[in-house]
Symmetry: C2
C-alpha cells in the first residue's frame, strides 16, 4: 500500500519531538498583500454620487474631518479591540481609479464626466490619525480620524468601515477567548465558516488579539501569522483501518504530530496512537462529544501509559464560554472556528464614519452633527487619552472635543499619526499590535476579564472646550 | 458658492423623471473576476499535511467522493438557499499552485518536497455535481458532490466551504427579507458592515435571493448586479443649509433623485424637498426613528402637496421582521444593511465537506462515515430530488444513498453537472439563479413564508439501496 522510496519529510518540525503541537510552523514574511488590484470600487454607489453633486456645486473642496467610531460596544461586552488599521492603510494605498474602474463608472453612468475626470487623478492627500492596532476601545472612541477635503475623505467611507467593522469584531471576540484560555494557546481554524478573504483577515485579527496561530495558509503568506495543522477525519476514513491511517501520518509527519482520535472509538484510538508513536507522541485531538469528560479520561489513559508529555487539543464548536468551562480540564490548547470568525454573536463592530467638522462659506471650521431622532452624533474634532490611576489601571476614556484633553499626569495618549499629507507614516506591524493589545488589556480593570454581560469596564468622559 | 460652467450630468437616469428610485442604474457586465490571483492558499494547513501523508503512504490516489451538506438549517429557519456555487467554480479554475505559493510552502516547511512537486502540477481532473445556485435546500441535501482522487478532492475542502457557507448564509437571510417585502424592492446596502470582499459576495448572493440592486460598485462591475445610491447625511452636513444641499443634489442628480430627509427635522426637509424638486421628486429616504409612523406622516404630507408619485424609501437597521412590520405602511422600498450581510443571526450556513465514499485496497468503492459521538455522518454517495404533489407543491427532500432515488412521476431532480473531467460545464449565471430561486421558493408549502421559528418546511427522507 505504501509507495516506495519517497524521502521522509525532514522539514517537519513536529518530527523533532517535544515541541508543543501548536508551535508556529511558519516564520515571518513581509506583510505585503498579493492583491495589487485597485480597492476603489469596494465602495458604495452613493459615495460617488455625493461627490458628483458636491463637485458640481463647488463645495467638494471644503476642508473636512471625518471620524470612525462606535456608538456602543456589542451587547454586554466590557471592551472592544481595534484591528484592521494596517489593512485600512494598505487599502488606502491601493485606492486608485484605473482604466477599468473609470470605464465601469462611465459605461454604467454611475457618475458624470467631470466626476470621472476628478477620480482619474485621485490621490488621497490628507491626514489620518487614530488608535493603533490592538488598542482597546470604548463607546465614542475616535478610532480613526480623516482630515481632508470632503471629496477626498467621503469616498473612503465604505472601505474604511468594511475593514474596521470586520477586523475589530473578530479581534474583540478573540481577546475574550485568549483571556478565557488563561495562557493556554488558542488556534484560529474558522476559515471554512466565513468568506474566503474574511478568513485571511480573521486570522490576522485573531493573532493581534493573542491567538498563537491559524490554520489559514494565506494569512501565513500575506501577514506572517504562524500556521499549523495536521489531519481531519477524512484522512482516517481514507484508510482501511485507523491503524494504517495513524501509521501513515506518524511516518510522514513525525511522532510529534497530533493524531485525531475521535473518528471511531476514542479509547481504542488513543491506545493505538501510543502504540504507533510511543511516548514521543506530540498530541491527540478531540473534536466531538463532552470535551471536559473526554479530556479527563484521555489524560488518565495517556498518563497511565507513560505518555505524560503528550498534549490534548480540543476543537469542537468552542467559544469563550466553552473555553472557560474547560479551564479545569487537562487541556493543552484550543482550536476555535465558527465562534471566532463570526465574532461570537457580534459579527460586526457597528462602527460609523461621520462628518464631524467642515469649513463653512467663510472658511471657518464648524462642528456638524445630524440632529434627527435616534442617531444623534457629537459634532467637532475629537482627541482621546486613557486616564490611568497612579498604579496604572485604566479609569476612563477621556475624549476632548475641539481640543486635546488635559493630561492629568498619568494619562496615556491614544491617537497616533498614520498618514500625513497622503503618505502612510506608520504601517502598523501586526507583531507590535499583538504586544500592544496584551499591554492595553492588562491595563484594564479586572472586571474586563469577566465573560458575563455588563457595561463597558471604564466610562467614556467628554472634555469640551 | 457654486462652481461655474460645469456640465449638468446628462447620463443620470434619475434626471429622466418618473423612474422608480431603485431602478437599476447599471446594466450587465460579463461576470469575470478581476482577481486573477491564485486561490490555492485560501486553504487550511492540514489539508496539505493530510495530502503529504497520503502521498507518502500511497493512498492519496484512491478514488473518493466528498460531499458538502448542512446537518441542519440555521435555528428556526424553514428552508435555506444555495448561493456561491458559481463562485466555487470560478475559484476552482484559479486553484493553482504557482511559484509564489510553492515557495511559501517550501520556505516555511508546510509540506515536503514530494508534496510540493505534486502541487506544482495540480489540476483538478474530477467531476463536480450539485444543486444549482438559487435552489432551496434542506438538512442533509447533498448540495455539492466532488468525485476525484483523495488528493485532488481533499485540498478543495476549505475553499469550497468558505464560499458556500458565506454566500448561502446571506442568500438564506435575503430570501426571507424579499418574502417579507411582498413585492416591494429590497436594496442591499450592507457593505460597510462586513469584510470588503464579503460585501461583494453578499451583494451577489442577495441578488440571487431576490434583491433588486446593491450599493456595492464592485458587485456591479464583477457580477453585473445593478447598483444604486444617492446621498448620505454627510452630504447634507457639508452645506451651510439643508436647502443648499438639496438644491445641489437635485441640480446634479436630477429631480428623480432620492433626498435624505432626516438630517434635521423631517417635516421641514420634506417641504423643502418638494419646493426644490416639485412634483417630479423621485423619492425621500428615512434612515432613523419610528419608520412606520414617519412614513405614514410623510406620505400624507407628500400627497397633500400633490407629490403622489414621490416614493418613500426606508433604511434604518432593517431585518426581515422590521420589513414585515412595515408591510402596512406606505413604503416603496427597503434598504437593508447589517442584518443582511450578517445573515440575520446566522452568519454561516454550517455546511461541512465530508468524505462519504472511497476506494478500498481491493479497488471497490466503500461508503465511509465518522462514528464517534455527536457528529455522525451518513456514508455513501447521495443523490437528491424534490418530491412534488400533483399540483406541484414540494412534499419532501428525497435523498438516495448509493443510487438515484426513484422518481415517482412528479419529482424534480435537484442535481446538475457542474464540472466534468476537470472542466467547468455550467458556470452558474446569477440572473438565471435569481429566476431559479423565485421558482424554487414558490414551489414550497406556504408555511415557508412564515418568519416564526419552526421546523424545515419539508422533511428530508432517505431512500437506501
Amino acid at each position: 500500500m505504501r509507495s516506495q522510496g519517497h524521502p521522509r519529510s525532514t522539514g517537519d518540525r513536529e518530527a523533532d519531538g517535544p515541541r508543543p503541537p501548536f508551535a508556529p510552523r511558519v516564520g515571518l514574511v513581509s506583510p505585503t498583500s498579493p492583491r495589487a488590484a485597485s480597492t476603489a470600487l469596494l465602495t458604495d454607489h452613493y459615495e460617488l454620487t455625493m461627490l458628483q453633486a458636491a463637485l458640481a456645486s463647488g463645495e467638494a473642496h471644503r476642508r473636512c474631518v471625518f471620524e470612525a467610531f462606535a456608538r456602543r460596544l456589542p451587547d454586554g461586552r466590557r471592551y472592544g479591540v481595534i484591528a484592521g488599521t494596517g489593512r485600512v492603510l494598505e487599502a488606502l494605498e491601493q485606492f486608485r481609479f484605473g482604466d477599468d474602474e473609470l470605464r465601469f463608472l462611465s459605461d454604467h453612468e454611475v457618475v458624470d464626466r467631470q466626476t470621472v475626470d476628478w477620480l482619474e487623478s485621485y490621490r488621497f492627500s490628507g491626514h489620518v490619525s487614530g488608535y493603533a492596532e490592538g488598542e482597546c476601545y470604548f463607546p465614542q472612541s475616535p478610532v480613526l480620524v480623516v482630515e481632508s477635503t470632503f471629496a477626498e475623505g467621503v469616498i473612503l467611507e465604505t472601505l474604511v468601515l468594511s475593514i474596521l467593522n470586520h477586523d475589530t469584531a473578530i479581534a474583540s471576540a478573540a481577546s475574550r477567548m485568549t483571556t478565557a484560555a488563561i495562557g493556554r494557546p488558542c488556534i484560529e481554524m474558522g476559515s471554512r465558516r466565513t468568506h474566503e478573504e474574511s478568513a485571511v483577515a480573521a486570522a490576522r485579527a485573531a493573532y493581534v488579539a493573542g491567538f498563537e496561530a491559524t490554520s489559514n495558509l494565506e494569512a501565513g503568506r500575506r501577514y506572517g501569522v504562524p500556521t499549523t495543522g495536521t489531519a481531519a477525519h477524512a484522512f482516517t476514513l481514507l484508510y482501511d483501518s485507523e491503524k494504517e491511517a495513524f501509521t501513515a501520518q506518524v511516518e510522514s509527519l513525525g511522532k510529534g504530530t497530533t493524531l485525531l482520535v475521535d473518528t471511531y472509538d476514542v479509547r481504542t484510538a488513543v491506545e493505538l496512537a501510543m502504540e504507533i508513536a510511543g511516548p514521543e507522541l506530540g498530541a491527540v485531538r478531540l473534536d466531538s462529544g463532552d470535551l471536559l469528560i473526554q479530556a479527563t479520561e484521555v489524560r488518565a489513559q495517556l498518563d497511565a501509559a507513560g505518555n505524560t508529555d503528550t498534549r490534548i487539543i480540543v476543537t469542537s464548536d468552542l467559544d469563550e464560554y466553552a473555553i472557560a468551562g474547560l479551564a479545569a480540564g487537562p487541556v493543552s490548547g484550543y482550536g476555535v472556528g465558527t465562534a471566532l470568525v463570526t465574532g461570537s454573536g457580534a459579527p460586526t463592530a457597528s462602527m460609523v464614519y461621520k462628518l464631524v467638522q467642515r469649513e463653512d462659506a467663510s472658511g471657518h471650521m464648524q462642528g456638524v452633527a445630524k440632529k434627527s431622532k435616534d442617531k444623534t452624533s457629537v459634532g467637532g474634532r475629537k482627541w482621546a487619552l486613557r486616564r490611568l490611576s497612579p498604579s496604572g489601571v485604566a479609569q476612563a476614556e477621556v475624549i476632548g472635543i475641539g481640543e486635546r484633553p488635559r493630561d492629568d499626569g498619568n494619562d496615556r495618549p491614544l491617537m497616533i499619526d498614520l498618514v500625513r499629507d497622503g503618505e502612510v507614516v506608520d504601517h502598523q506591524d501586526i507583531h507590535e499590535a499583538r504586544a500592544r493589545h496584551e499591554a492595553s488589556r492588562a491595563e484594564l480593570p479586572r472586571a474586563a476579564a469577566q465573560l458575563s454581560r455588563g457595561e463597558p469596564v471604564i466610562p467614556t468622559i467628554y472634555e469640551e472646550d
